[in-house]
Symmetry: none
Subunit: 212 residues, 4 copies
DNA sequence: CATGAATGAGGTTTCATTCAT
DNA sequence: TATGAATGAAACCTCATTCAT
């Protein structure tokens, strides 16, 4: 269906790869839509396929089973967030620590907000996906990026405290989750963002002082 | 609304007789066991009944449907945590703010740890239970208790910042969730506890200063 | 359904065991009916259940999957044939060898004929059931029985030739299979029976002579 | 009827070009490989095509449906066996009866052994292919060849017994099937071959004597 | 009250077959 | 002619829930 449209208005001969890409994209997007509109336990492969405008069979050509479909969507989201944070880390090197923290926190919050719908949708299925495991892997990845960044902080005497970084990450996640699940307004989100910066800055400072 | 929910999903009959009480207890415990050993999507009413040593029919005499069973277990857990925190709040009145915060945080962490297995089990089903709604209700309840406590703090000039309390609660929840889902060791939990105290104290101080 | 009938016309209170037994019997019989009327590849669990007058769910309470259902029917049939042959072996001890062979062959043929429909039906599914394995096991069981019987033959000097027994069994099976699959008439079957006796007797005699 | 069947299930086009011949051969061979490695119920047209190194579409240009593909492979095998036996019959004319029988039996056994893998593979699908019908047709063809041969036997007074020939054929088939499905060793097969000769010779002699 | 056999809607997944490229 | 993505009917199996005993 989507392919027809593309064919009709695009170049005559669309490469197979592209057609497949379009289909896969439609399926992923449909997964999120269904998750949001019907909830996790009423997400069926048939429904997802219908929403994507393809048949079930097509869905199963790209994903061997329901689980792999959900996992792919989940992983993709985590990757995007990770990349955003890593980019922020790279950008913030050699700046004062409080600036570093502000940038990282804001990058994280903004990345989540970018696709707030996906975030909310995924909270519903994460438990069935070995979510915790992927969350943990992502956490480690982010911690490393933050650690490397902090090593370049001019105003940080000691080597950064890994445990403190983990605390910060899980605290941010928790706060974002609350706000997202509550369906907070943009205004509230701006406030959450500002307060999270404050929370992380004050805690990191305190943790560093205590470590000394 | 909340009342309707309670009516619809609450336990079907009040266990007055001892035998009934025992049965209900066994069913709830079995629910948690099955959740932990089989996972959320393989939790069946038949399996729960078998684990509890009763027949499915009996289970359905106490809970009108599967949802109400899970909801009851969930609600019970939230109540216990709430009560623990409220008790800590009552105890900590008129003490210095940092002491207040320490006590509340420790009460929360300890209550969660008390039945770490239940906490972990419930993370798996919360999304299917209108979890966020109950979490929000519990959050409001806790915030009120904390607010009242803070009003008695001798070293707090301004009225306490509601938003900051919410931030603290969600940050604590997030950190605990990470640790619980990661299956952290007791040693790690002690460290998490200490750091959460530090985090909340430093943030509340900073938030208060900023508010002034 | 079947239970209702039994209840209506039978004793008031039918023991649970019996009800289950009736159901299981109906399911097995339905399996054979469907196999005969629709063929092996159009045998579906739903169809079997419908034919048995129960729901699919009921079928799955007694057999964990389609395979186990077919296997149970298969095994039951093989058991009945085996028992018939073993009984004949026990009966024929101490008689002349040709008499022994006649009795065994006739027992085998008669047992197969008894439920010719089942035999034909099972030929269709045996390959999907690890049929050969069960056939082999049954073959060994029969061979042992025949061997023991032959040891008591007054006119057999040497110990019986195991290999020859296997040959006889597989030859009988093959001949019966041909006749059954061809839908032979009773008259033809009588002739097949007589000729199989002749075939086995002459071969066993020849094999014994050669062995000497 | 038989003609209709042949029209409906026969190969769709005659391979005149070499490439086509090669392709058809590859597909047939692949069918057998898949049958052996995956079993009858996991034989899919896609898998066969992949194994043959072509696309599904190509497969469907040579065979209108899955059934016709299997039937073609089956028929081809039966033809080869028939031809081998017929050749043996032609060769053995005017020789003594026991010699005739020896040659025919050995020809049959050797033809089956030649492609033991195919034989085993086909046992798995024969029931779904109207196997018995084709087997019966082949049986009649073989019986005729054997009958004609026996008419030239110098030591056979009466006209040959058709029924006895059928018995012999089905007994041989049964014995070979047992051995093949059991995966017998070459040594065992040599023994089976020798014993089958003995079995057929002694039975035919006995049948002739009785007929007289 | 307790039991557990029975129900059947509905979910996941497969695969023969077609057809646009 | 070859390809392989797409189709969708249909199979297997689960499990929340009921109700006769």
């Amino acid at each position: 269906m989507a392919a027809d449209v593309a064919t009709a208005f695009g170049p005559r001969k669309m490469p197979i790869q592209t057609r497949a890409t379009v289909t896969v994209g439609a399926i992923c997007e449909a997964t999120i839509q269904v998750l949001l509109s019907h909830g996790a336990d009423r997400l069926t492969t048939t429904r997802v396929a219908a929403r994507a405008g393809v048949s079930v069979g097509t869905l199963y050509q790209y994903y061997p089973n329901k689980h792999s479909l959900l996992f792919a969507v989940f992983e993709d989201h985590m990757n995007k967030v990770s990349q955003a944070v890593e980019a922020a880390c790279a950008d913030a090197c050699y700046r004062p620590m409080s600036e570093m923290i502000r940038r990282v926190v804001e990058a994280f919050v903004d990345a989540k907000m970018q696709r707030a719908d996906i975030s909310v949708a995924l909270y519903k299925v994460a438990p069935d996906l070995g979510g915790p495991a992927l969350v943990r892997r992502t956490g480690q990845r982010l911690r490393k990026a933050i650690e490397l960044m902090l090593l370049t902080a001019p105003d940080l005497k000691l080597s950064p405290d890994r445990f403190a970084i983990d605390m910060v990450l899980s605290a941010i996640s928790g706060a974002m989750r609350s706000a997202l699940e509550a369906g907070a307004s943009p205004a509230v989100f701006r406030k959450v963002r500002a307060h999270l910066v404050l929370l992380c800055q004050s805690y990191m400072a305190a943790a560093a002082a205590k470590g000394a």
